[in-house]
């Protein structure tokens, strides 16, 4: 009743790897994990909490979701649809700063992990 956005119970899936998608999500409360299916094995990429984004790639590309997002705890998320976001960026380009920052952070994180796996492997 109070609060906007959608509520998910612990364990509920928000979207599956391979789904079509055209919106991004911002976590208002709770925690989710990002899982990637690779050759039958499920790899846990990361977990995300309040104020963090996920699904942002759908805003810029027409590809399908690259990971499954599942709620770890009871979670509430707000959707940011593509049209709303891109329209906003057009009006005010600085709107994209945070997303760029976060994406840059993710790339850094993934680069680190890739480097480590390559060492091990």
């Amino acid at each position: 009743m109070a609060g906007l956005g959608k509520e998910y119970k612990a364990g509920e899936v928000i979207f599956q790897q391979g789904d079509a998608g055209n919106c991004m999500f911002v976590i208002q409360k709770g925690e989710v994990e990002a899982l990637v299916d690779s050759d039958g094995r499920q790899l846990r990429l990361r977990s995300m909490g309040r104020n963090e984004f996920f699904g942002e790639m759908a805003l810029f590309e027409k590809e399908v979701r690259t990971a499954t997002i599942r709620a770890i705890r009871p979670t509430r998320v707000l959707t940011i649809d593509k049209k709303n976001f891109l329209g906003g960026v057009h009006e005010d380009p600085s709107l994209s700063f945070r997303i760029l920052q976060m994406m840059s952070h993710r790339i850094r994180d993934l680069t680190d992990r890739l480097a480590r796996y390559e060492e091990i492997g």
């Binding site: 906007l4 911002v26 409360k29 509430r76 707000l78 959707t79 709303n84 005010d92 600085s94 700063f97």
Partner: protein, 460 residues
């Protein structure tokens, strides 16, 4: 004219923001964010002697408390996520009440919902846990980003060539490189400023009315549901009236041309209003005020080392003040971080946004005038009712009138956008059709229940 960037802020610059309402706090937040991004070290002093944790008018910045979902999403993108405790209610529909009948308008898209909030800590005498302040939340964000809260009352702003000086009621003063005025139109600061600076003209204002009724969550759910109740009544000078359910209380908001007691009495006597309340009786209210709103921007909105944001500058007419505060504070922050603090920078990078808002308001004024005609002309009311009802009954198909009304009531689209949609031939054609059909005998759609003072039933 290419200026050497002597007006750009340097490391160690000091900025004073007067007022920690939404525009002041958001300016501080955005400025500090972006300054950090480009490696600019600057101090922001946020002046606010009031405390938003106080209940009642002393901790409140007096408004209906409507934040459209698109604004909520936009704020989330900016990193401003409204916690659950601040959102009193998610509004999912509007119920339009007129003498010719009622119609419930469901949200056109699932993403078009509204958040109903309290600007302060809730009505006087409400319990402390009942509400968290929207303004308080934004102020805390600004402080977390590094703004220094100064609990002093600013009573004067003076300028000289190299700096601005802010004077306070306790006889202290401090110097700054830039003063951002975000004190709004419910404080005398702009008044004082007007007498200190002859070239400055403060915003034109009109009086509105807001009050709170205590009914309890259960009763409110039963009677009002997740719906905002809007009234289009033939009462002169009343442009807009809404009852907004929030938690244990219902907020009443009356907008128009200098709302006064006579107008209010007429409003409370209208059967359309009485029928919304349990047992058709309006209880005494627990908290009320007559806030002023900005209906004409101040002039000028900026000068060297000085800029007016939010209600102190340009804001949207009647609706979406918080959205306008967001836009103006962001634009001002960008100007200051990336360009400079001189009049020219503001002219090039801040003023255009304000002009857009002002121009949109002209369209808005026109649209509200048309709505005023509708309020007076019964045949128009019948037509609109019929059109909206048939749209709401259809499961598919464009809901043009519903959409227009929705965006008008919630301020979630610009007035220009709304107006242009009314020029669409399909809209226009349908409207004409409904105006005719609605005024034929028995024609307002389903049941024609002209008001007879019978009670309205549970809304859902």
């Amino acid at each position: 004219m290419i200026k050497a960037n002597s007006s750009a802020l340097k490391d160690g610059s000091r900025i004073a923001v007067i007022g920690a309402g939404p525009s002041g706090s958001m300016f501080s937040f955005f400025f500090l964010n972006m300054a950090e991004l480009i490696g600019l070290q600057a101090d922001v002093d946020l002046y606010e002697p009031r405390q938003f944790c106080h209940r009642g008018p002393s901790g409140c910045n007096h408004c209906g408390g409507i934040v459209s979902e698109s604004l909520v999403q936009r704020l989330a993108t900016e990193g401003i996520n409204l916690p659950n405790s601040i959102v009193q209610r998610g509004i999912e529909s509007y119920t339009l009440h007129m003498d010719v009948g009622d119609v419930e308008i469901a949200t056109p898209l699932s993403e078009k919902r509204i958040a109903a909030i309290y600007r302060g800590h809730g009505p006087r005498e409400s319990s402390p846990e009942a509400a968290d302040s929207f303004d308080g939340f934004l102020q805390e964000l600004a402080q977390e980003k590094g703004a220094t809260l100064i609990r002093r009352l600013v009573t004067g702003i003076k300028r000289d060539d190299e700096k601005m000086t802010v004077h306070c009621a306790d006889q202290t003063s401090a110097d700054y490189d830039l003063v951002v005025v975000a004190s709004g139109v419910n404080s005398r600061l702009l008044d004082i400023f007007e007498s200190d600076m002859p070239s400055f003209r403060q915003p034109d204002r009109t009086k509105t009315f807001i009050c709170e009724f205590h009914l309890g969550a259960e009763l409110i759910n039963k009677t009002f549901g997740p719906s905002m109740h809007v009234f289009l009544l033939d009462i002169p000078r009343l442009e807009f009236a809404a009852l907004i359910p929030k938690g244990e209380y219902v907020t009443l908001c009356l907008l128009g041309d200098d709302i006064d007691e006579a107008l209010m009495t007429r409003f409370f006597e209208s059967p359309e209003v009485r029928n919304c309340f349990p047992e058709n009786m309006i209880p005494p209210h627990v908290c009320h005020c007559y806030p002023r709103i900005n209906i004409q921007p101040s002039r000028p909105i900026y000068d060297d080392r000085l800029v007016m944001i939010g209600d102190s500058g340009s804001t949207r007419l009647f609706k979406d003040g918080i959205g306008a505060a967001y836009r103006t504070s962001k634009a001002a922050a960008k100007t200051v971080v990336f360009h400079g603090v001189d009049a020219d920078s503001f002219k090039q990078h801040y003023a255009p946004l304000c002009r857009r808002i002002d121009h949109d308001n002209l369209v808005g004024k026109f649209v509200f005038n048309v709505a005023g005609l509708v309020q007076k002309a019964r045949f128009a009311r019948r037509g609109i009712l019929r059109m909206t009802r048939s749209e709401q009954q259809r499961s598919k198909g464009p809901r043009r009138m519903s959409g227009v009304l929705w965006d008008l009531f919630s301020g979630s689209a610009s007035y220009t956008n709304v107006f242009l949609r009314t020029l669409h031939p399909a809209y226009f054609g349908s409207l004409i059709w409904n105006l005719v059909a609605g005024n034929l005998r028995g024609g307002t759609g389903t049941k024609d229940h002209e008001r007879e003072g019978e009670g309205s039933h549970a809304r859902h």
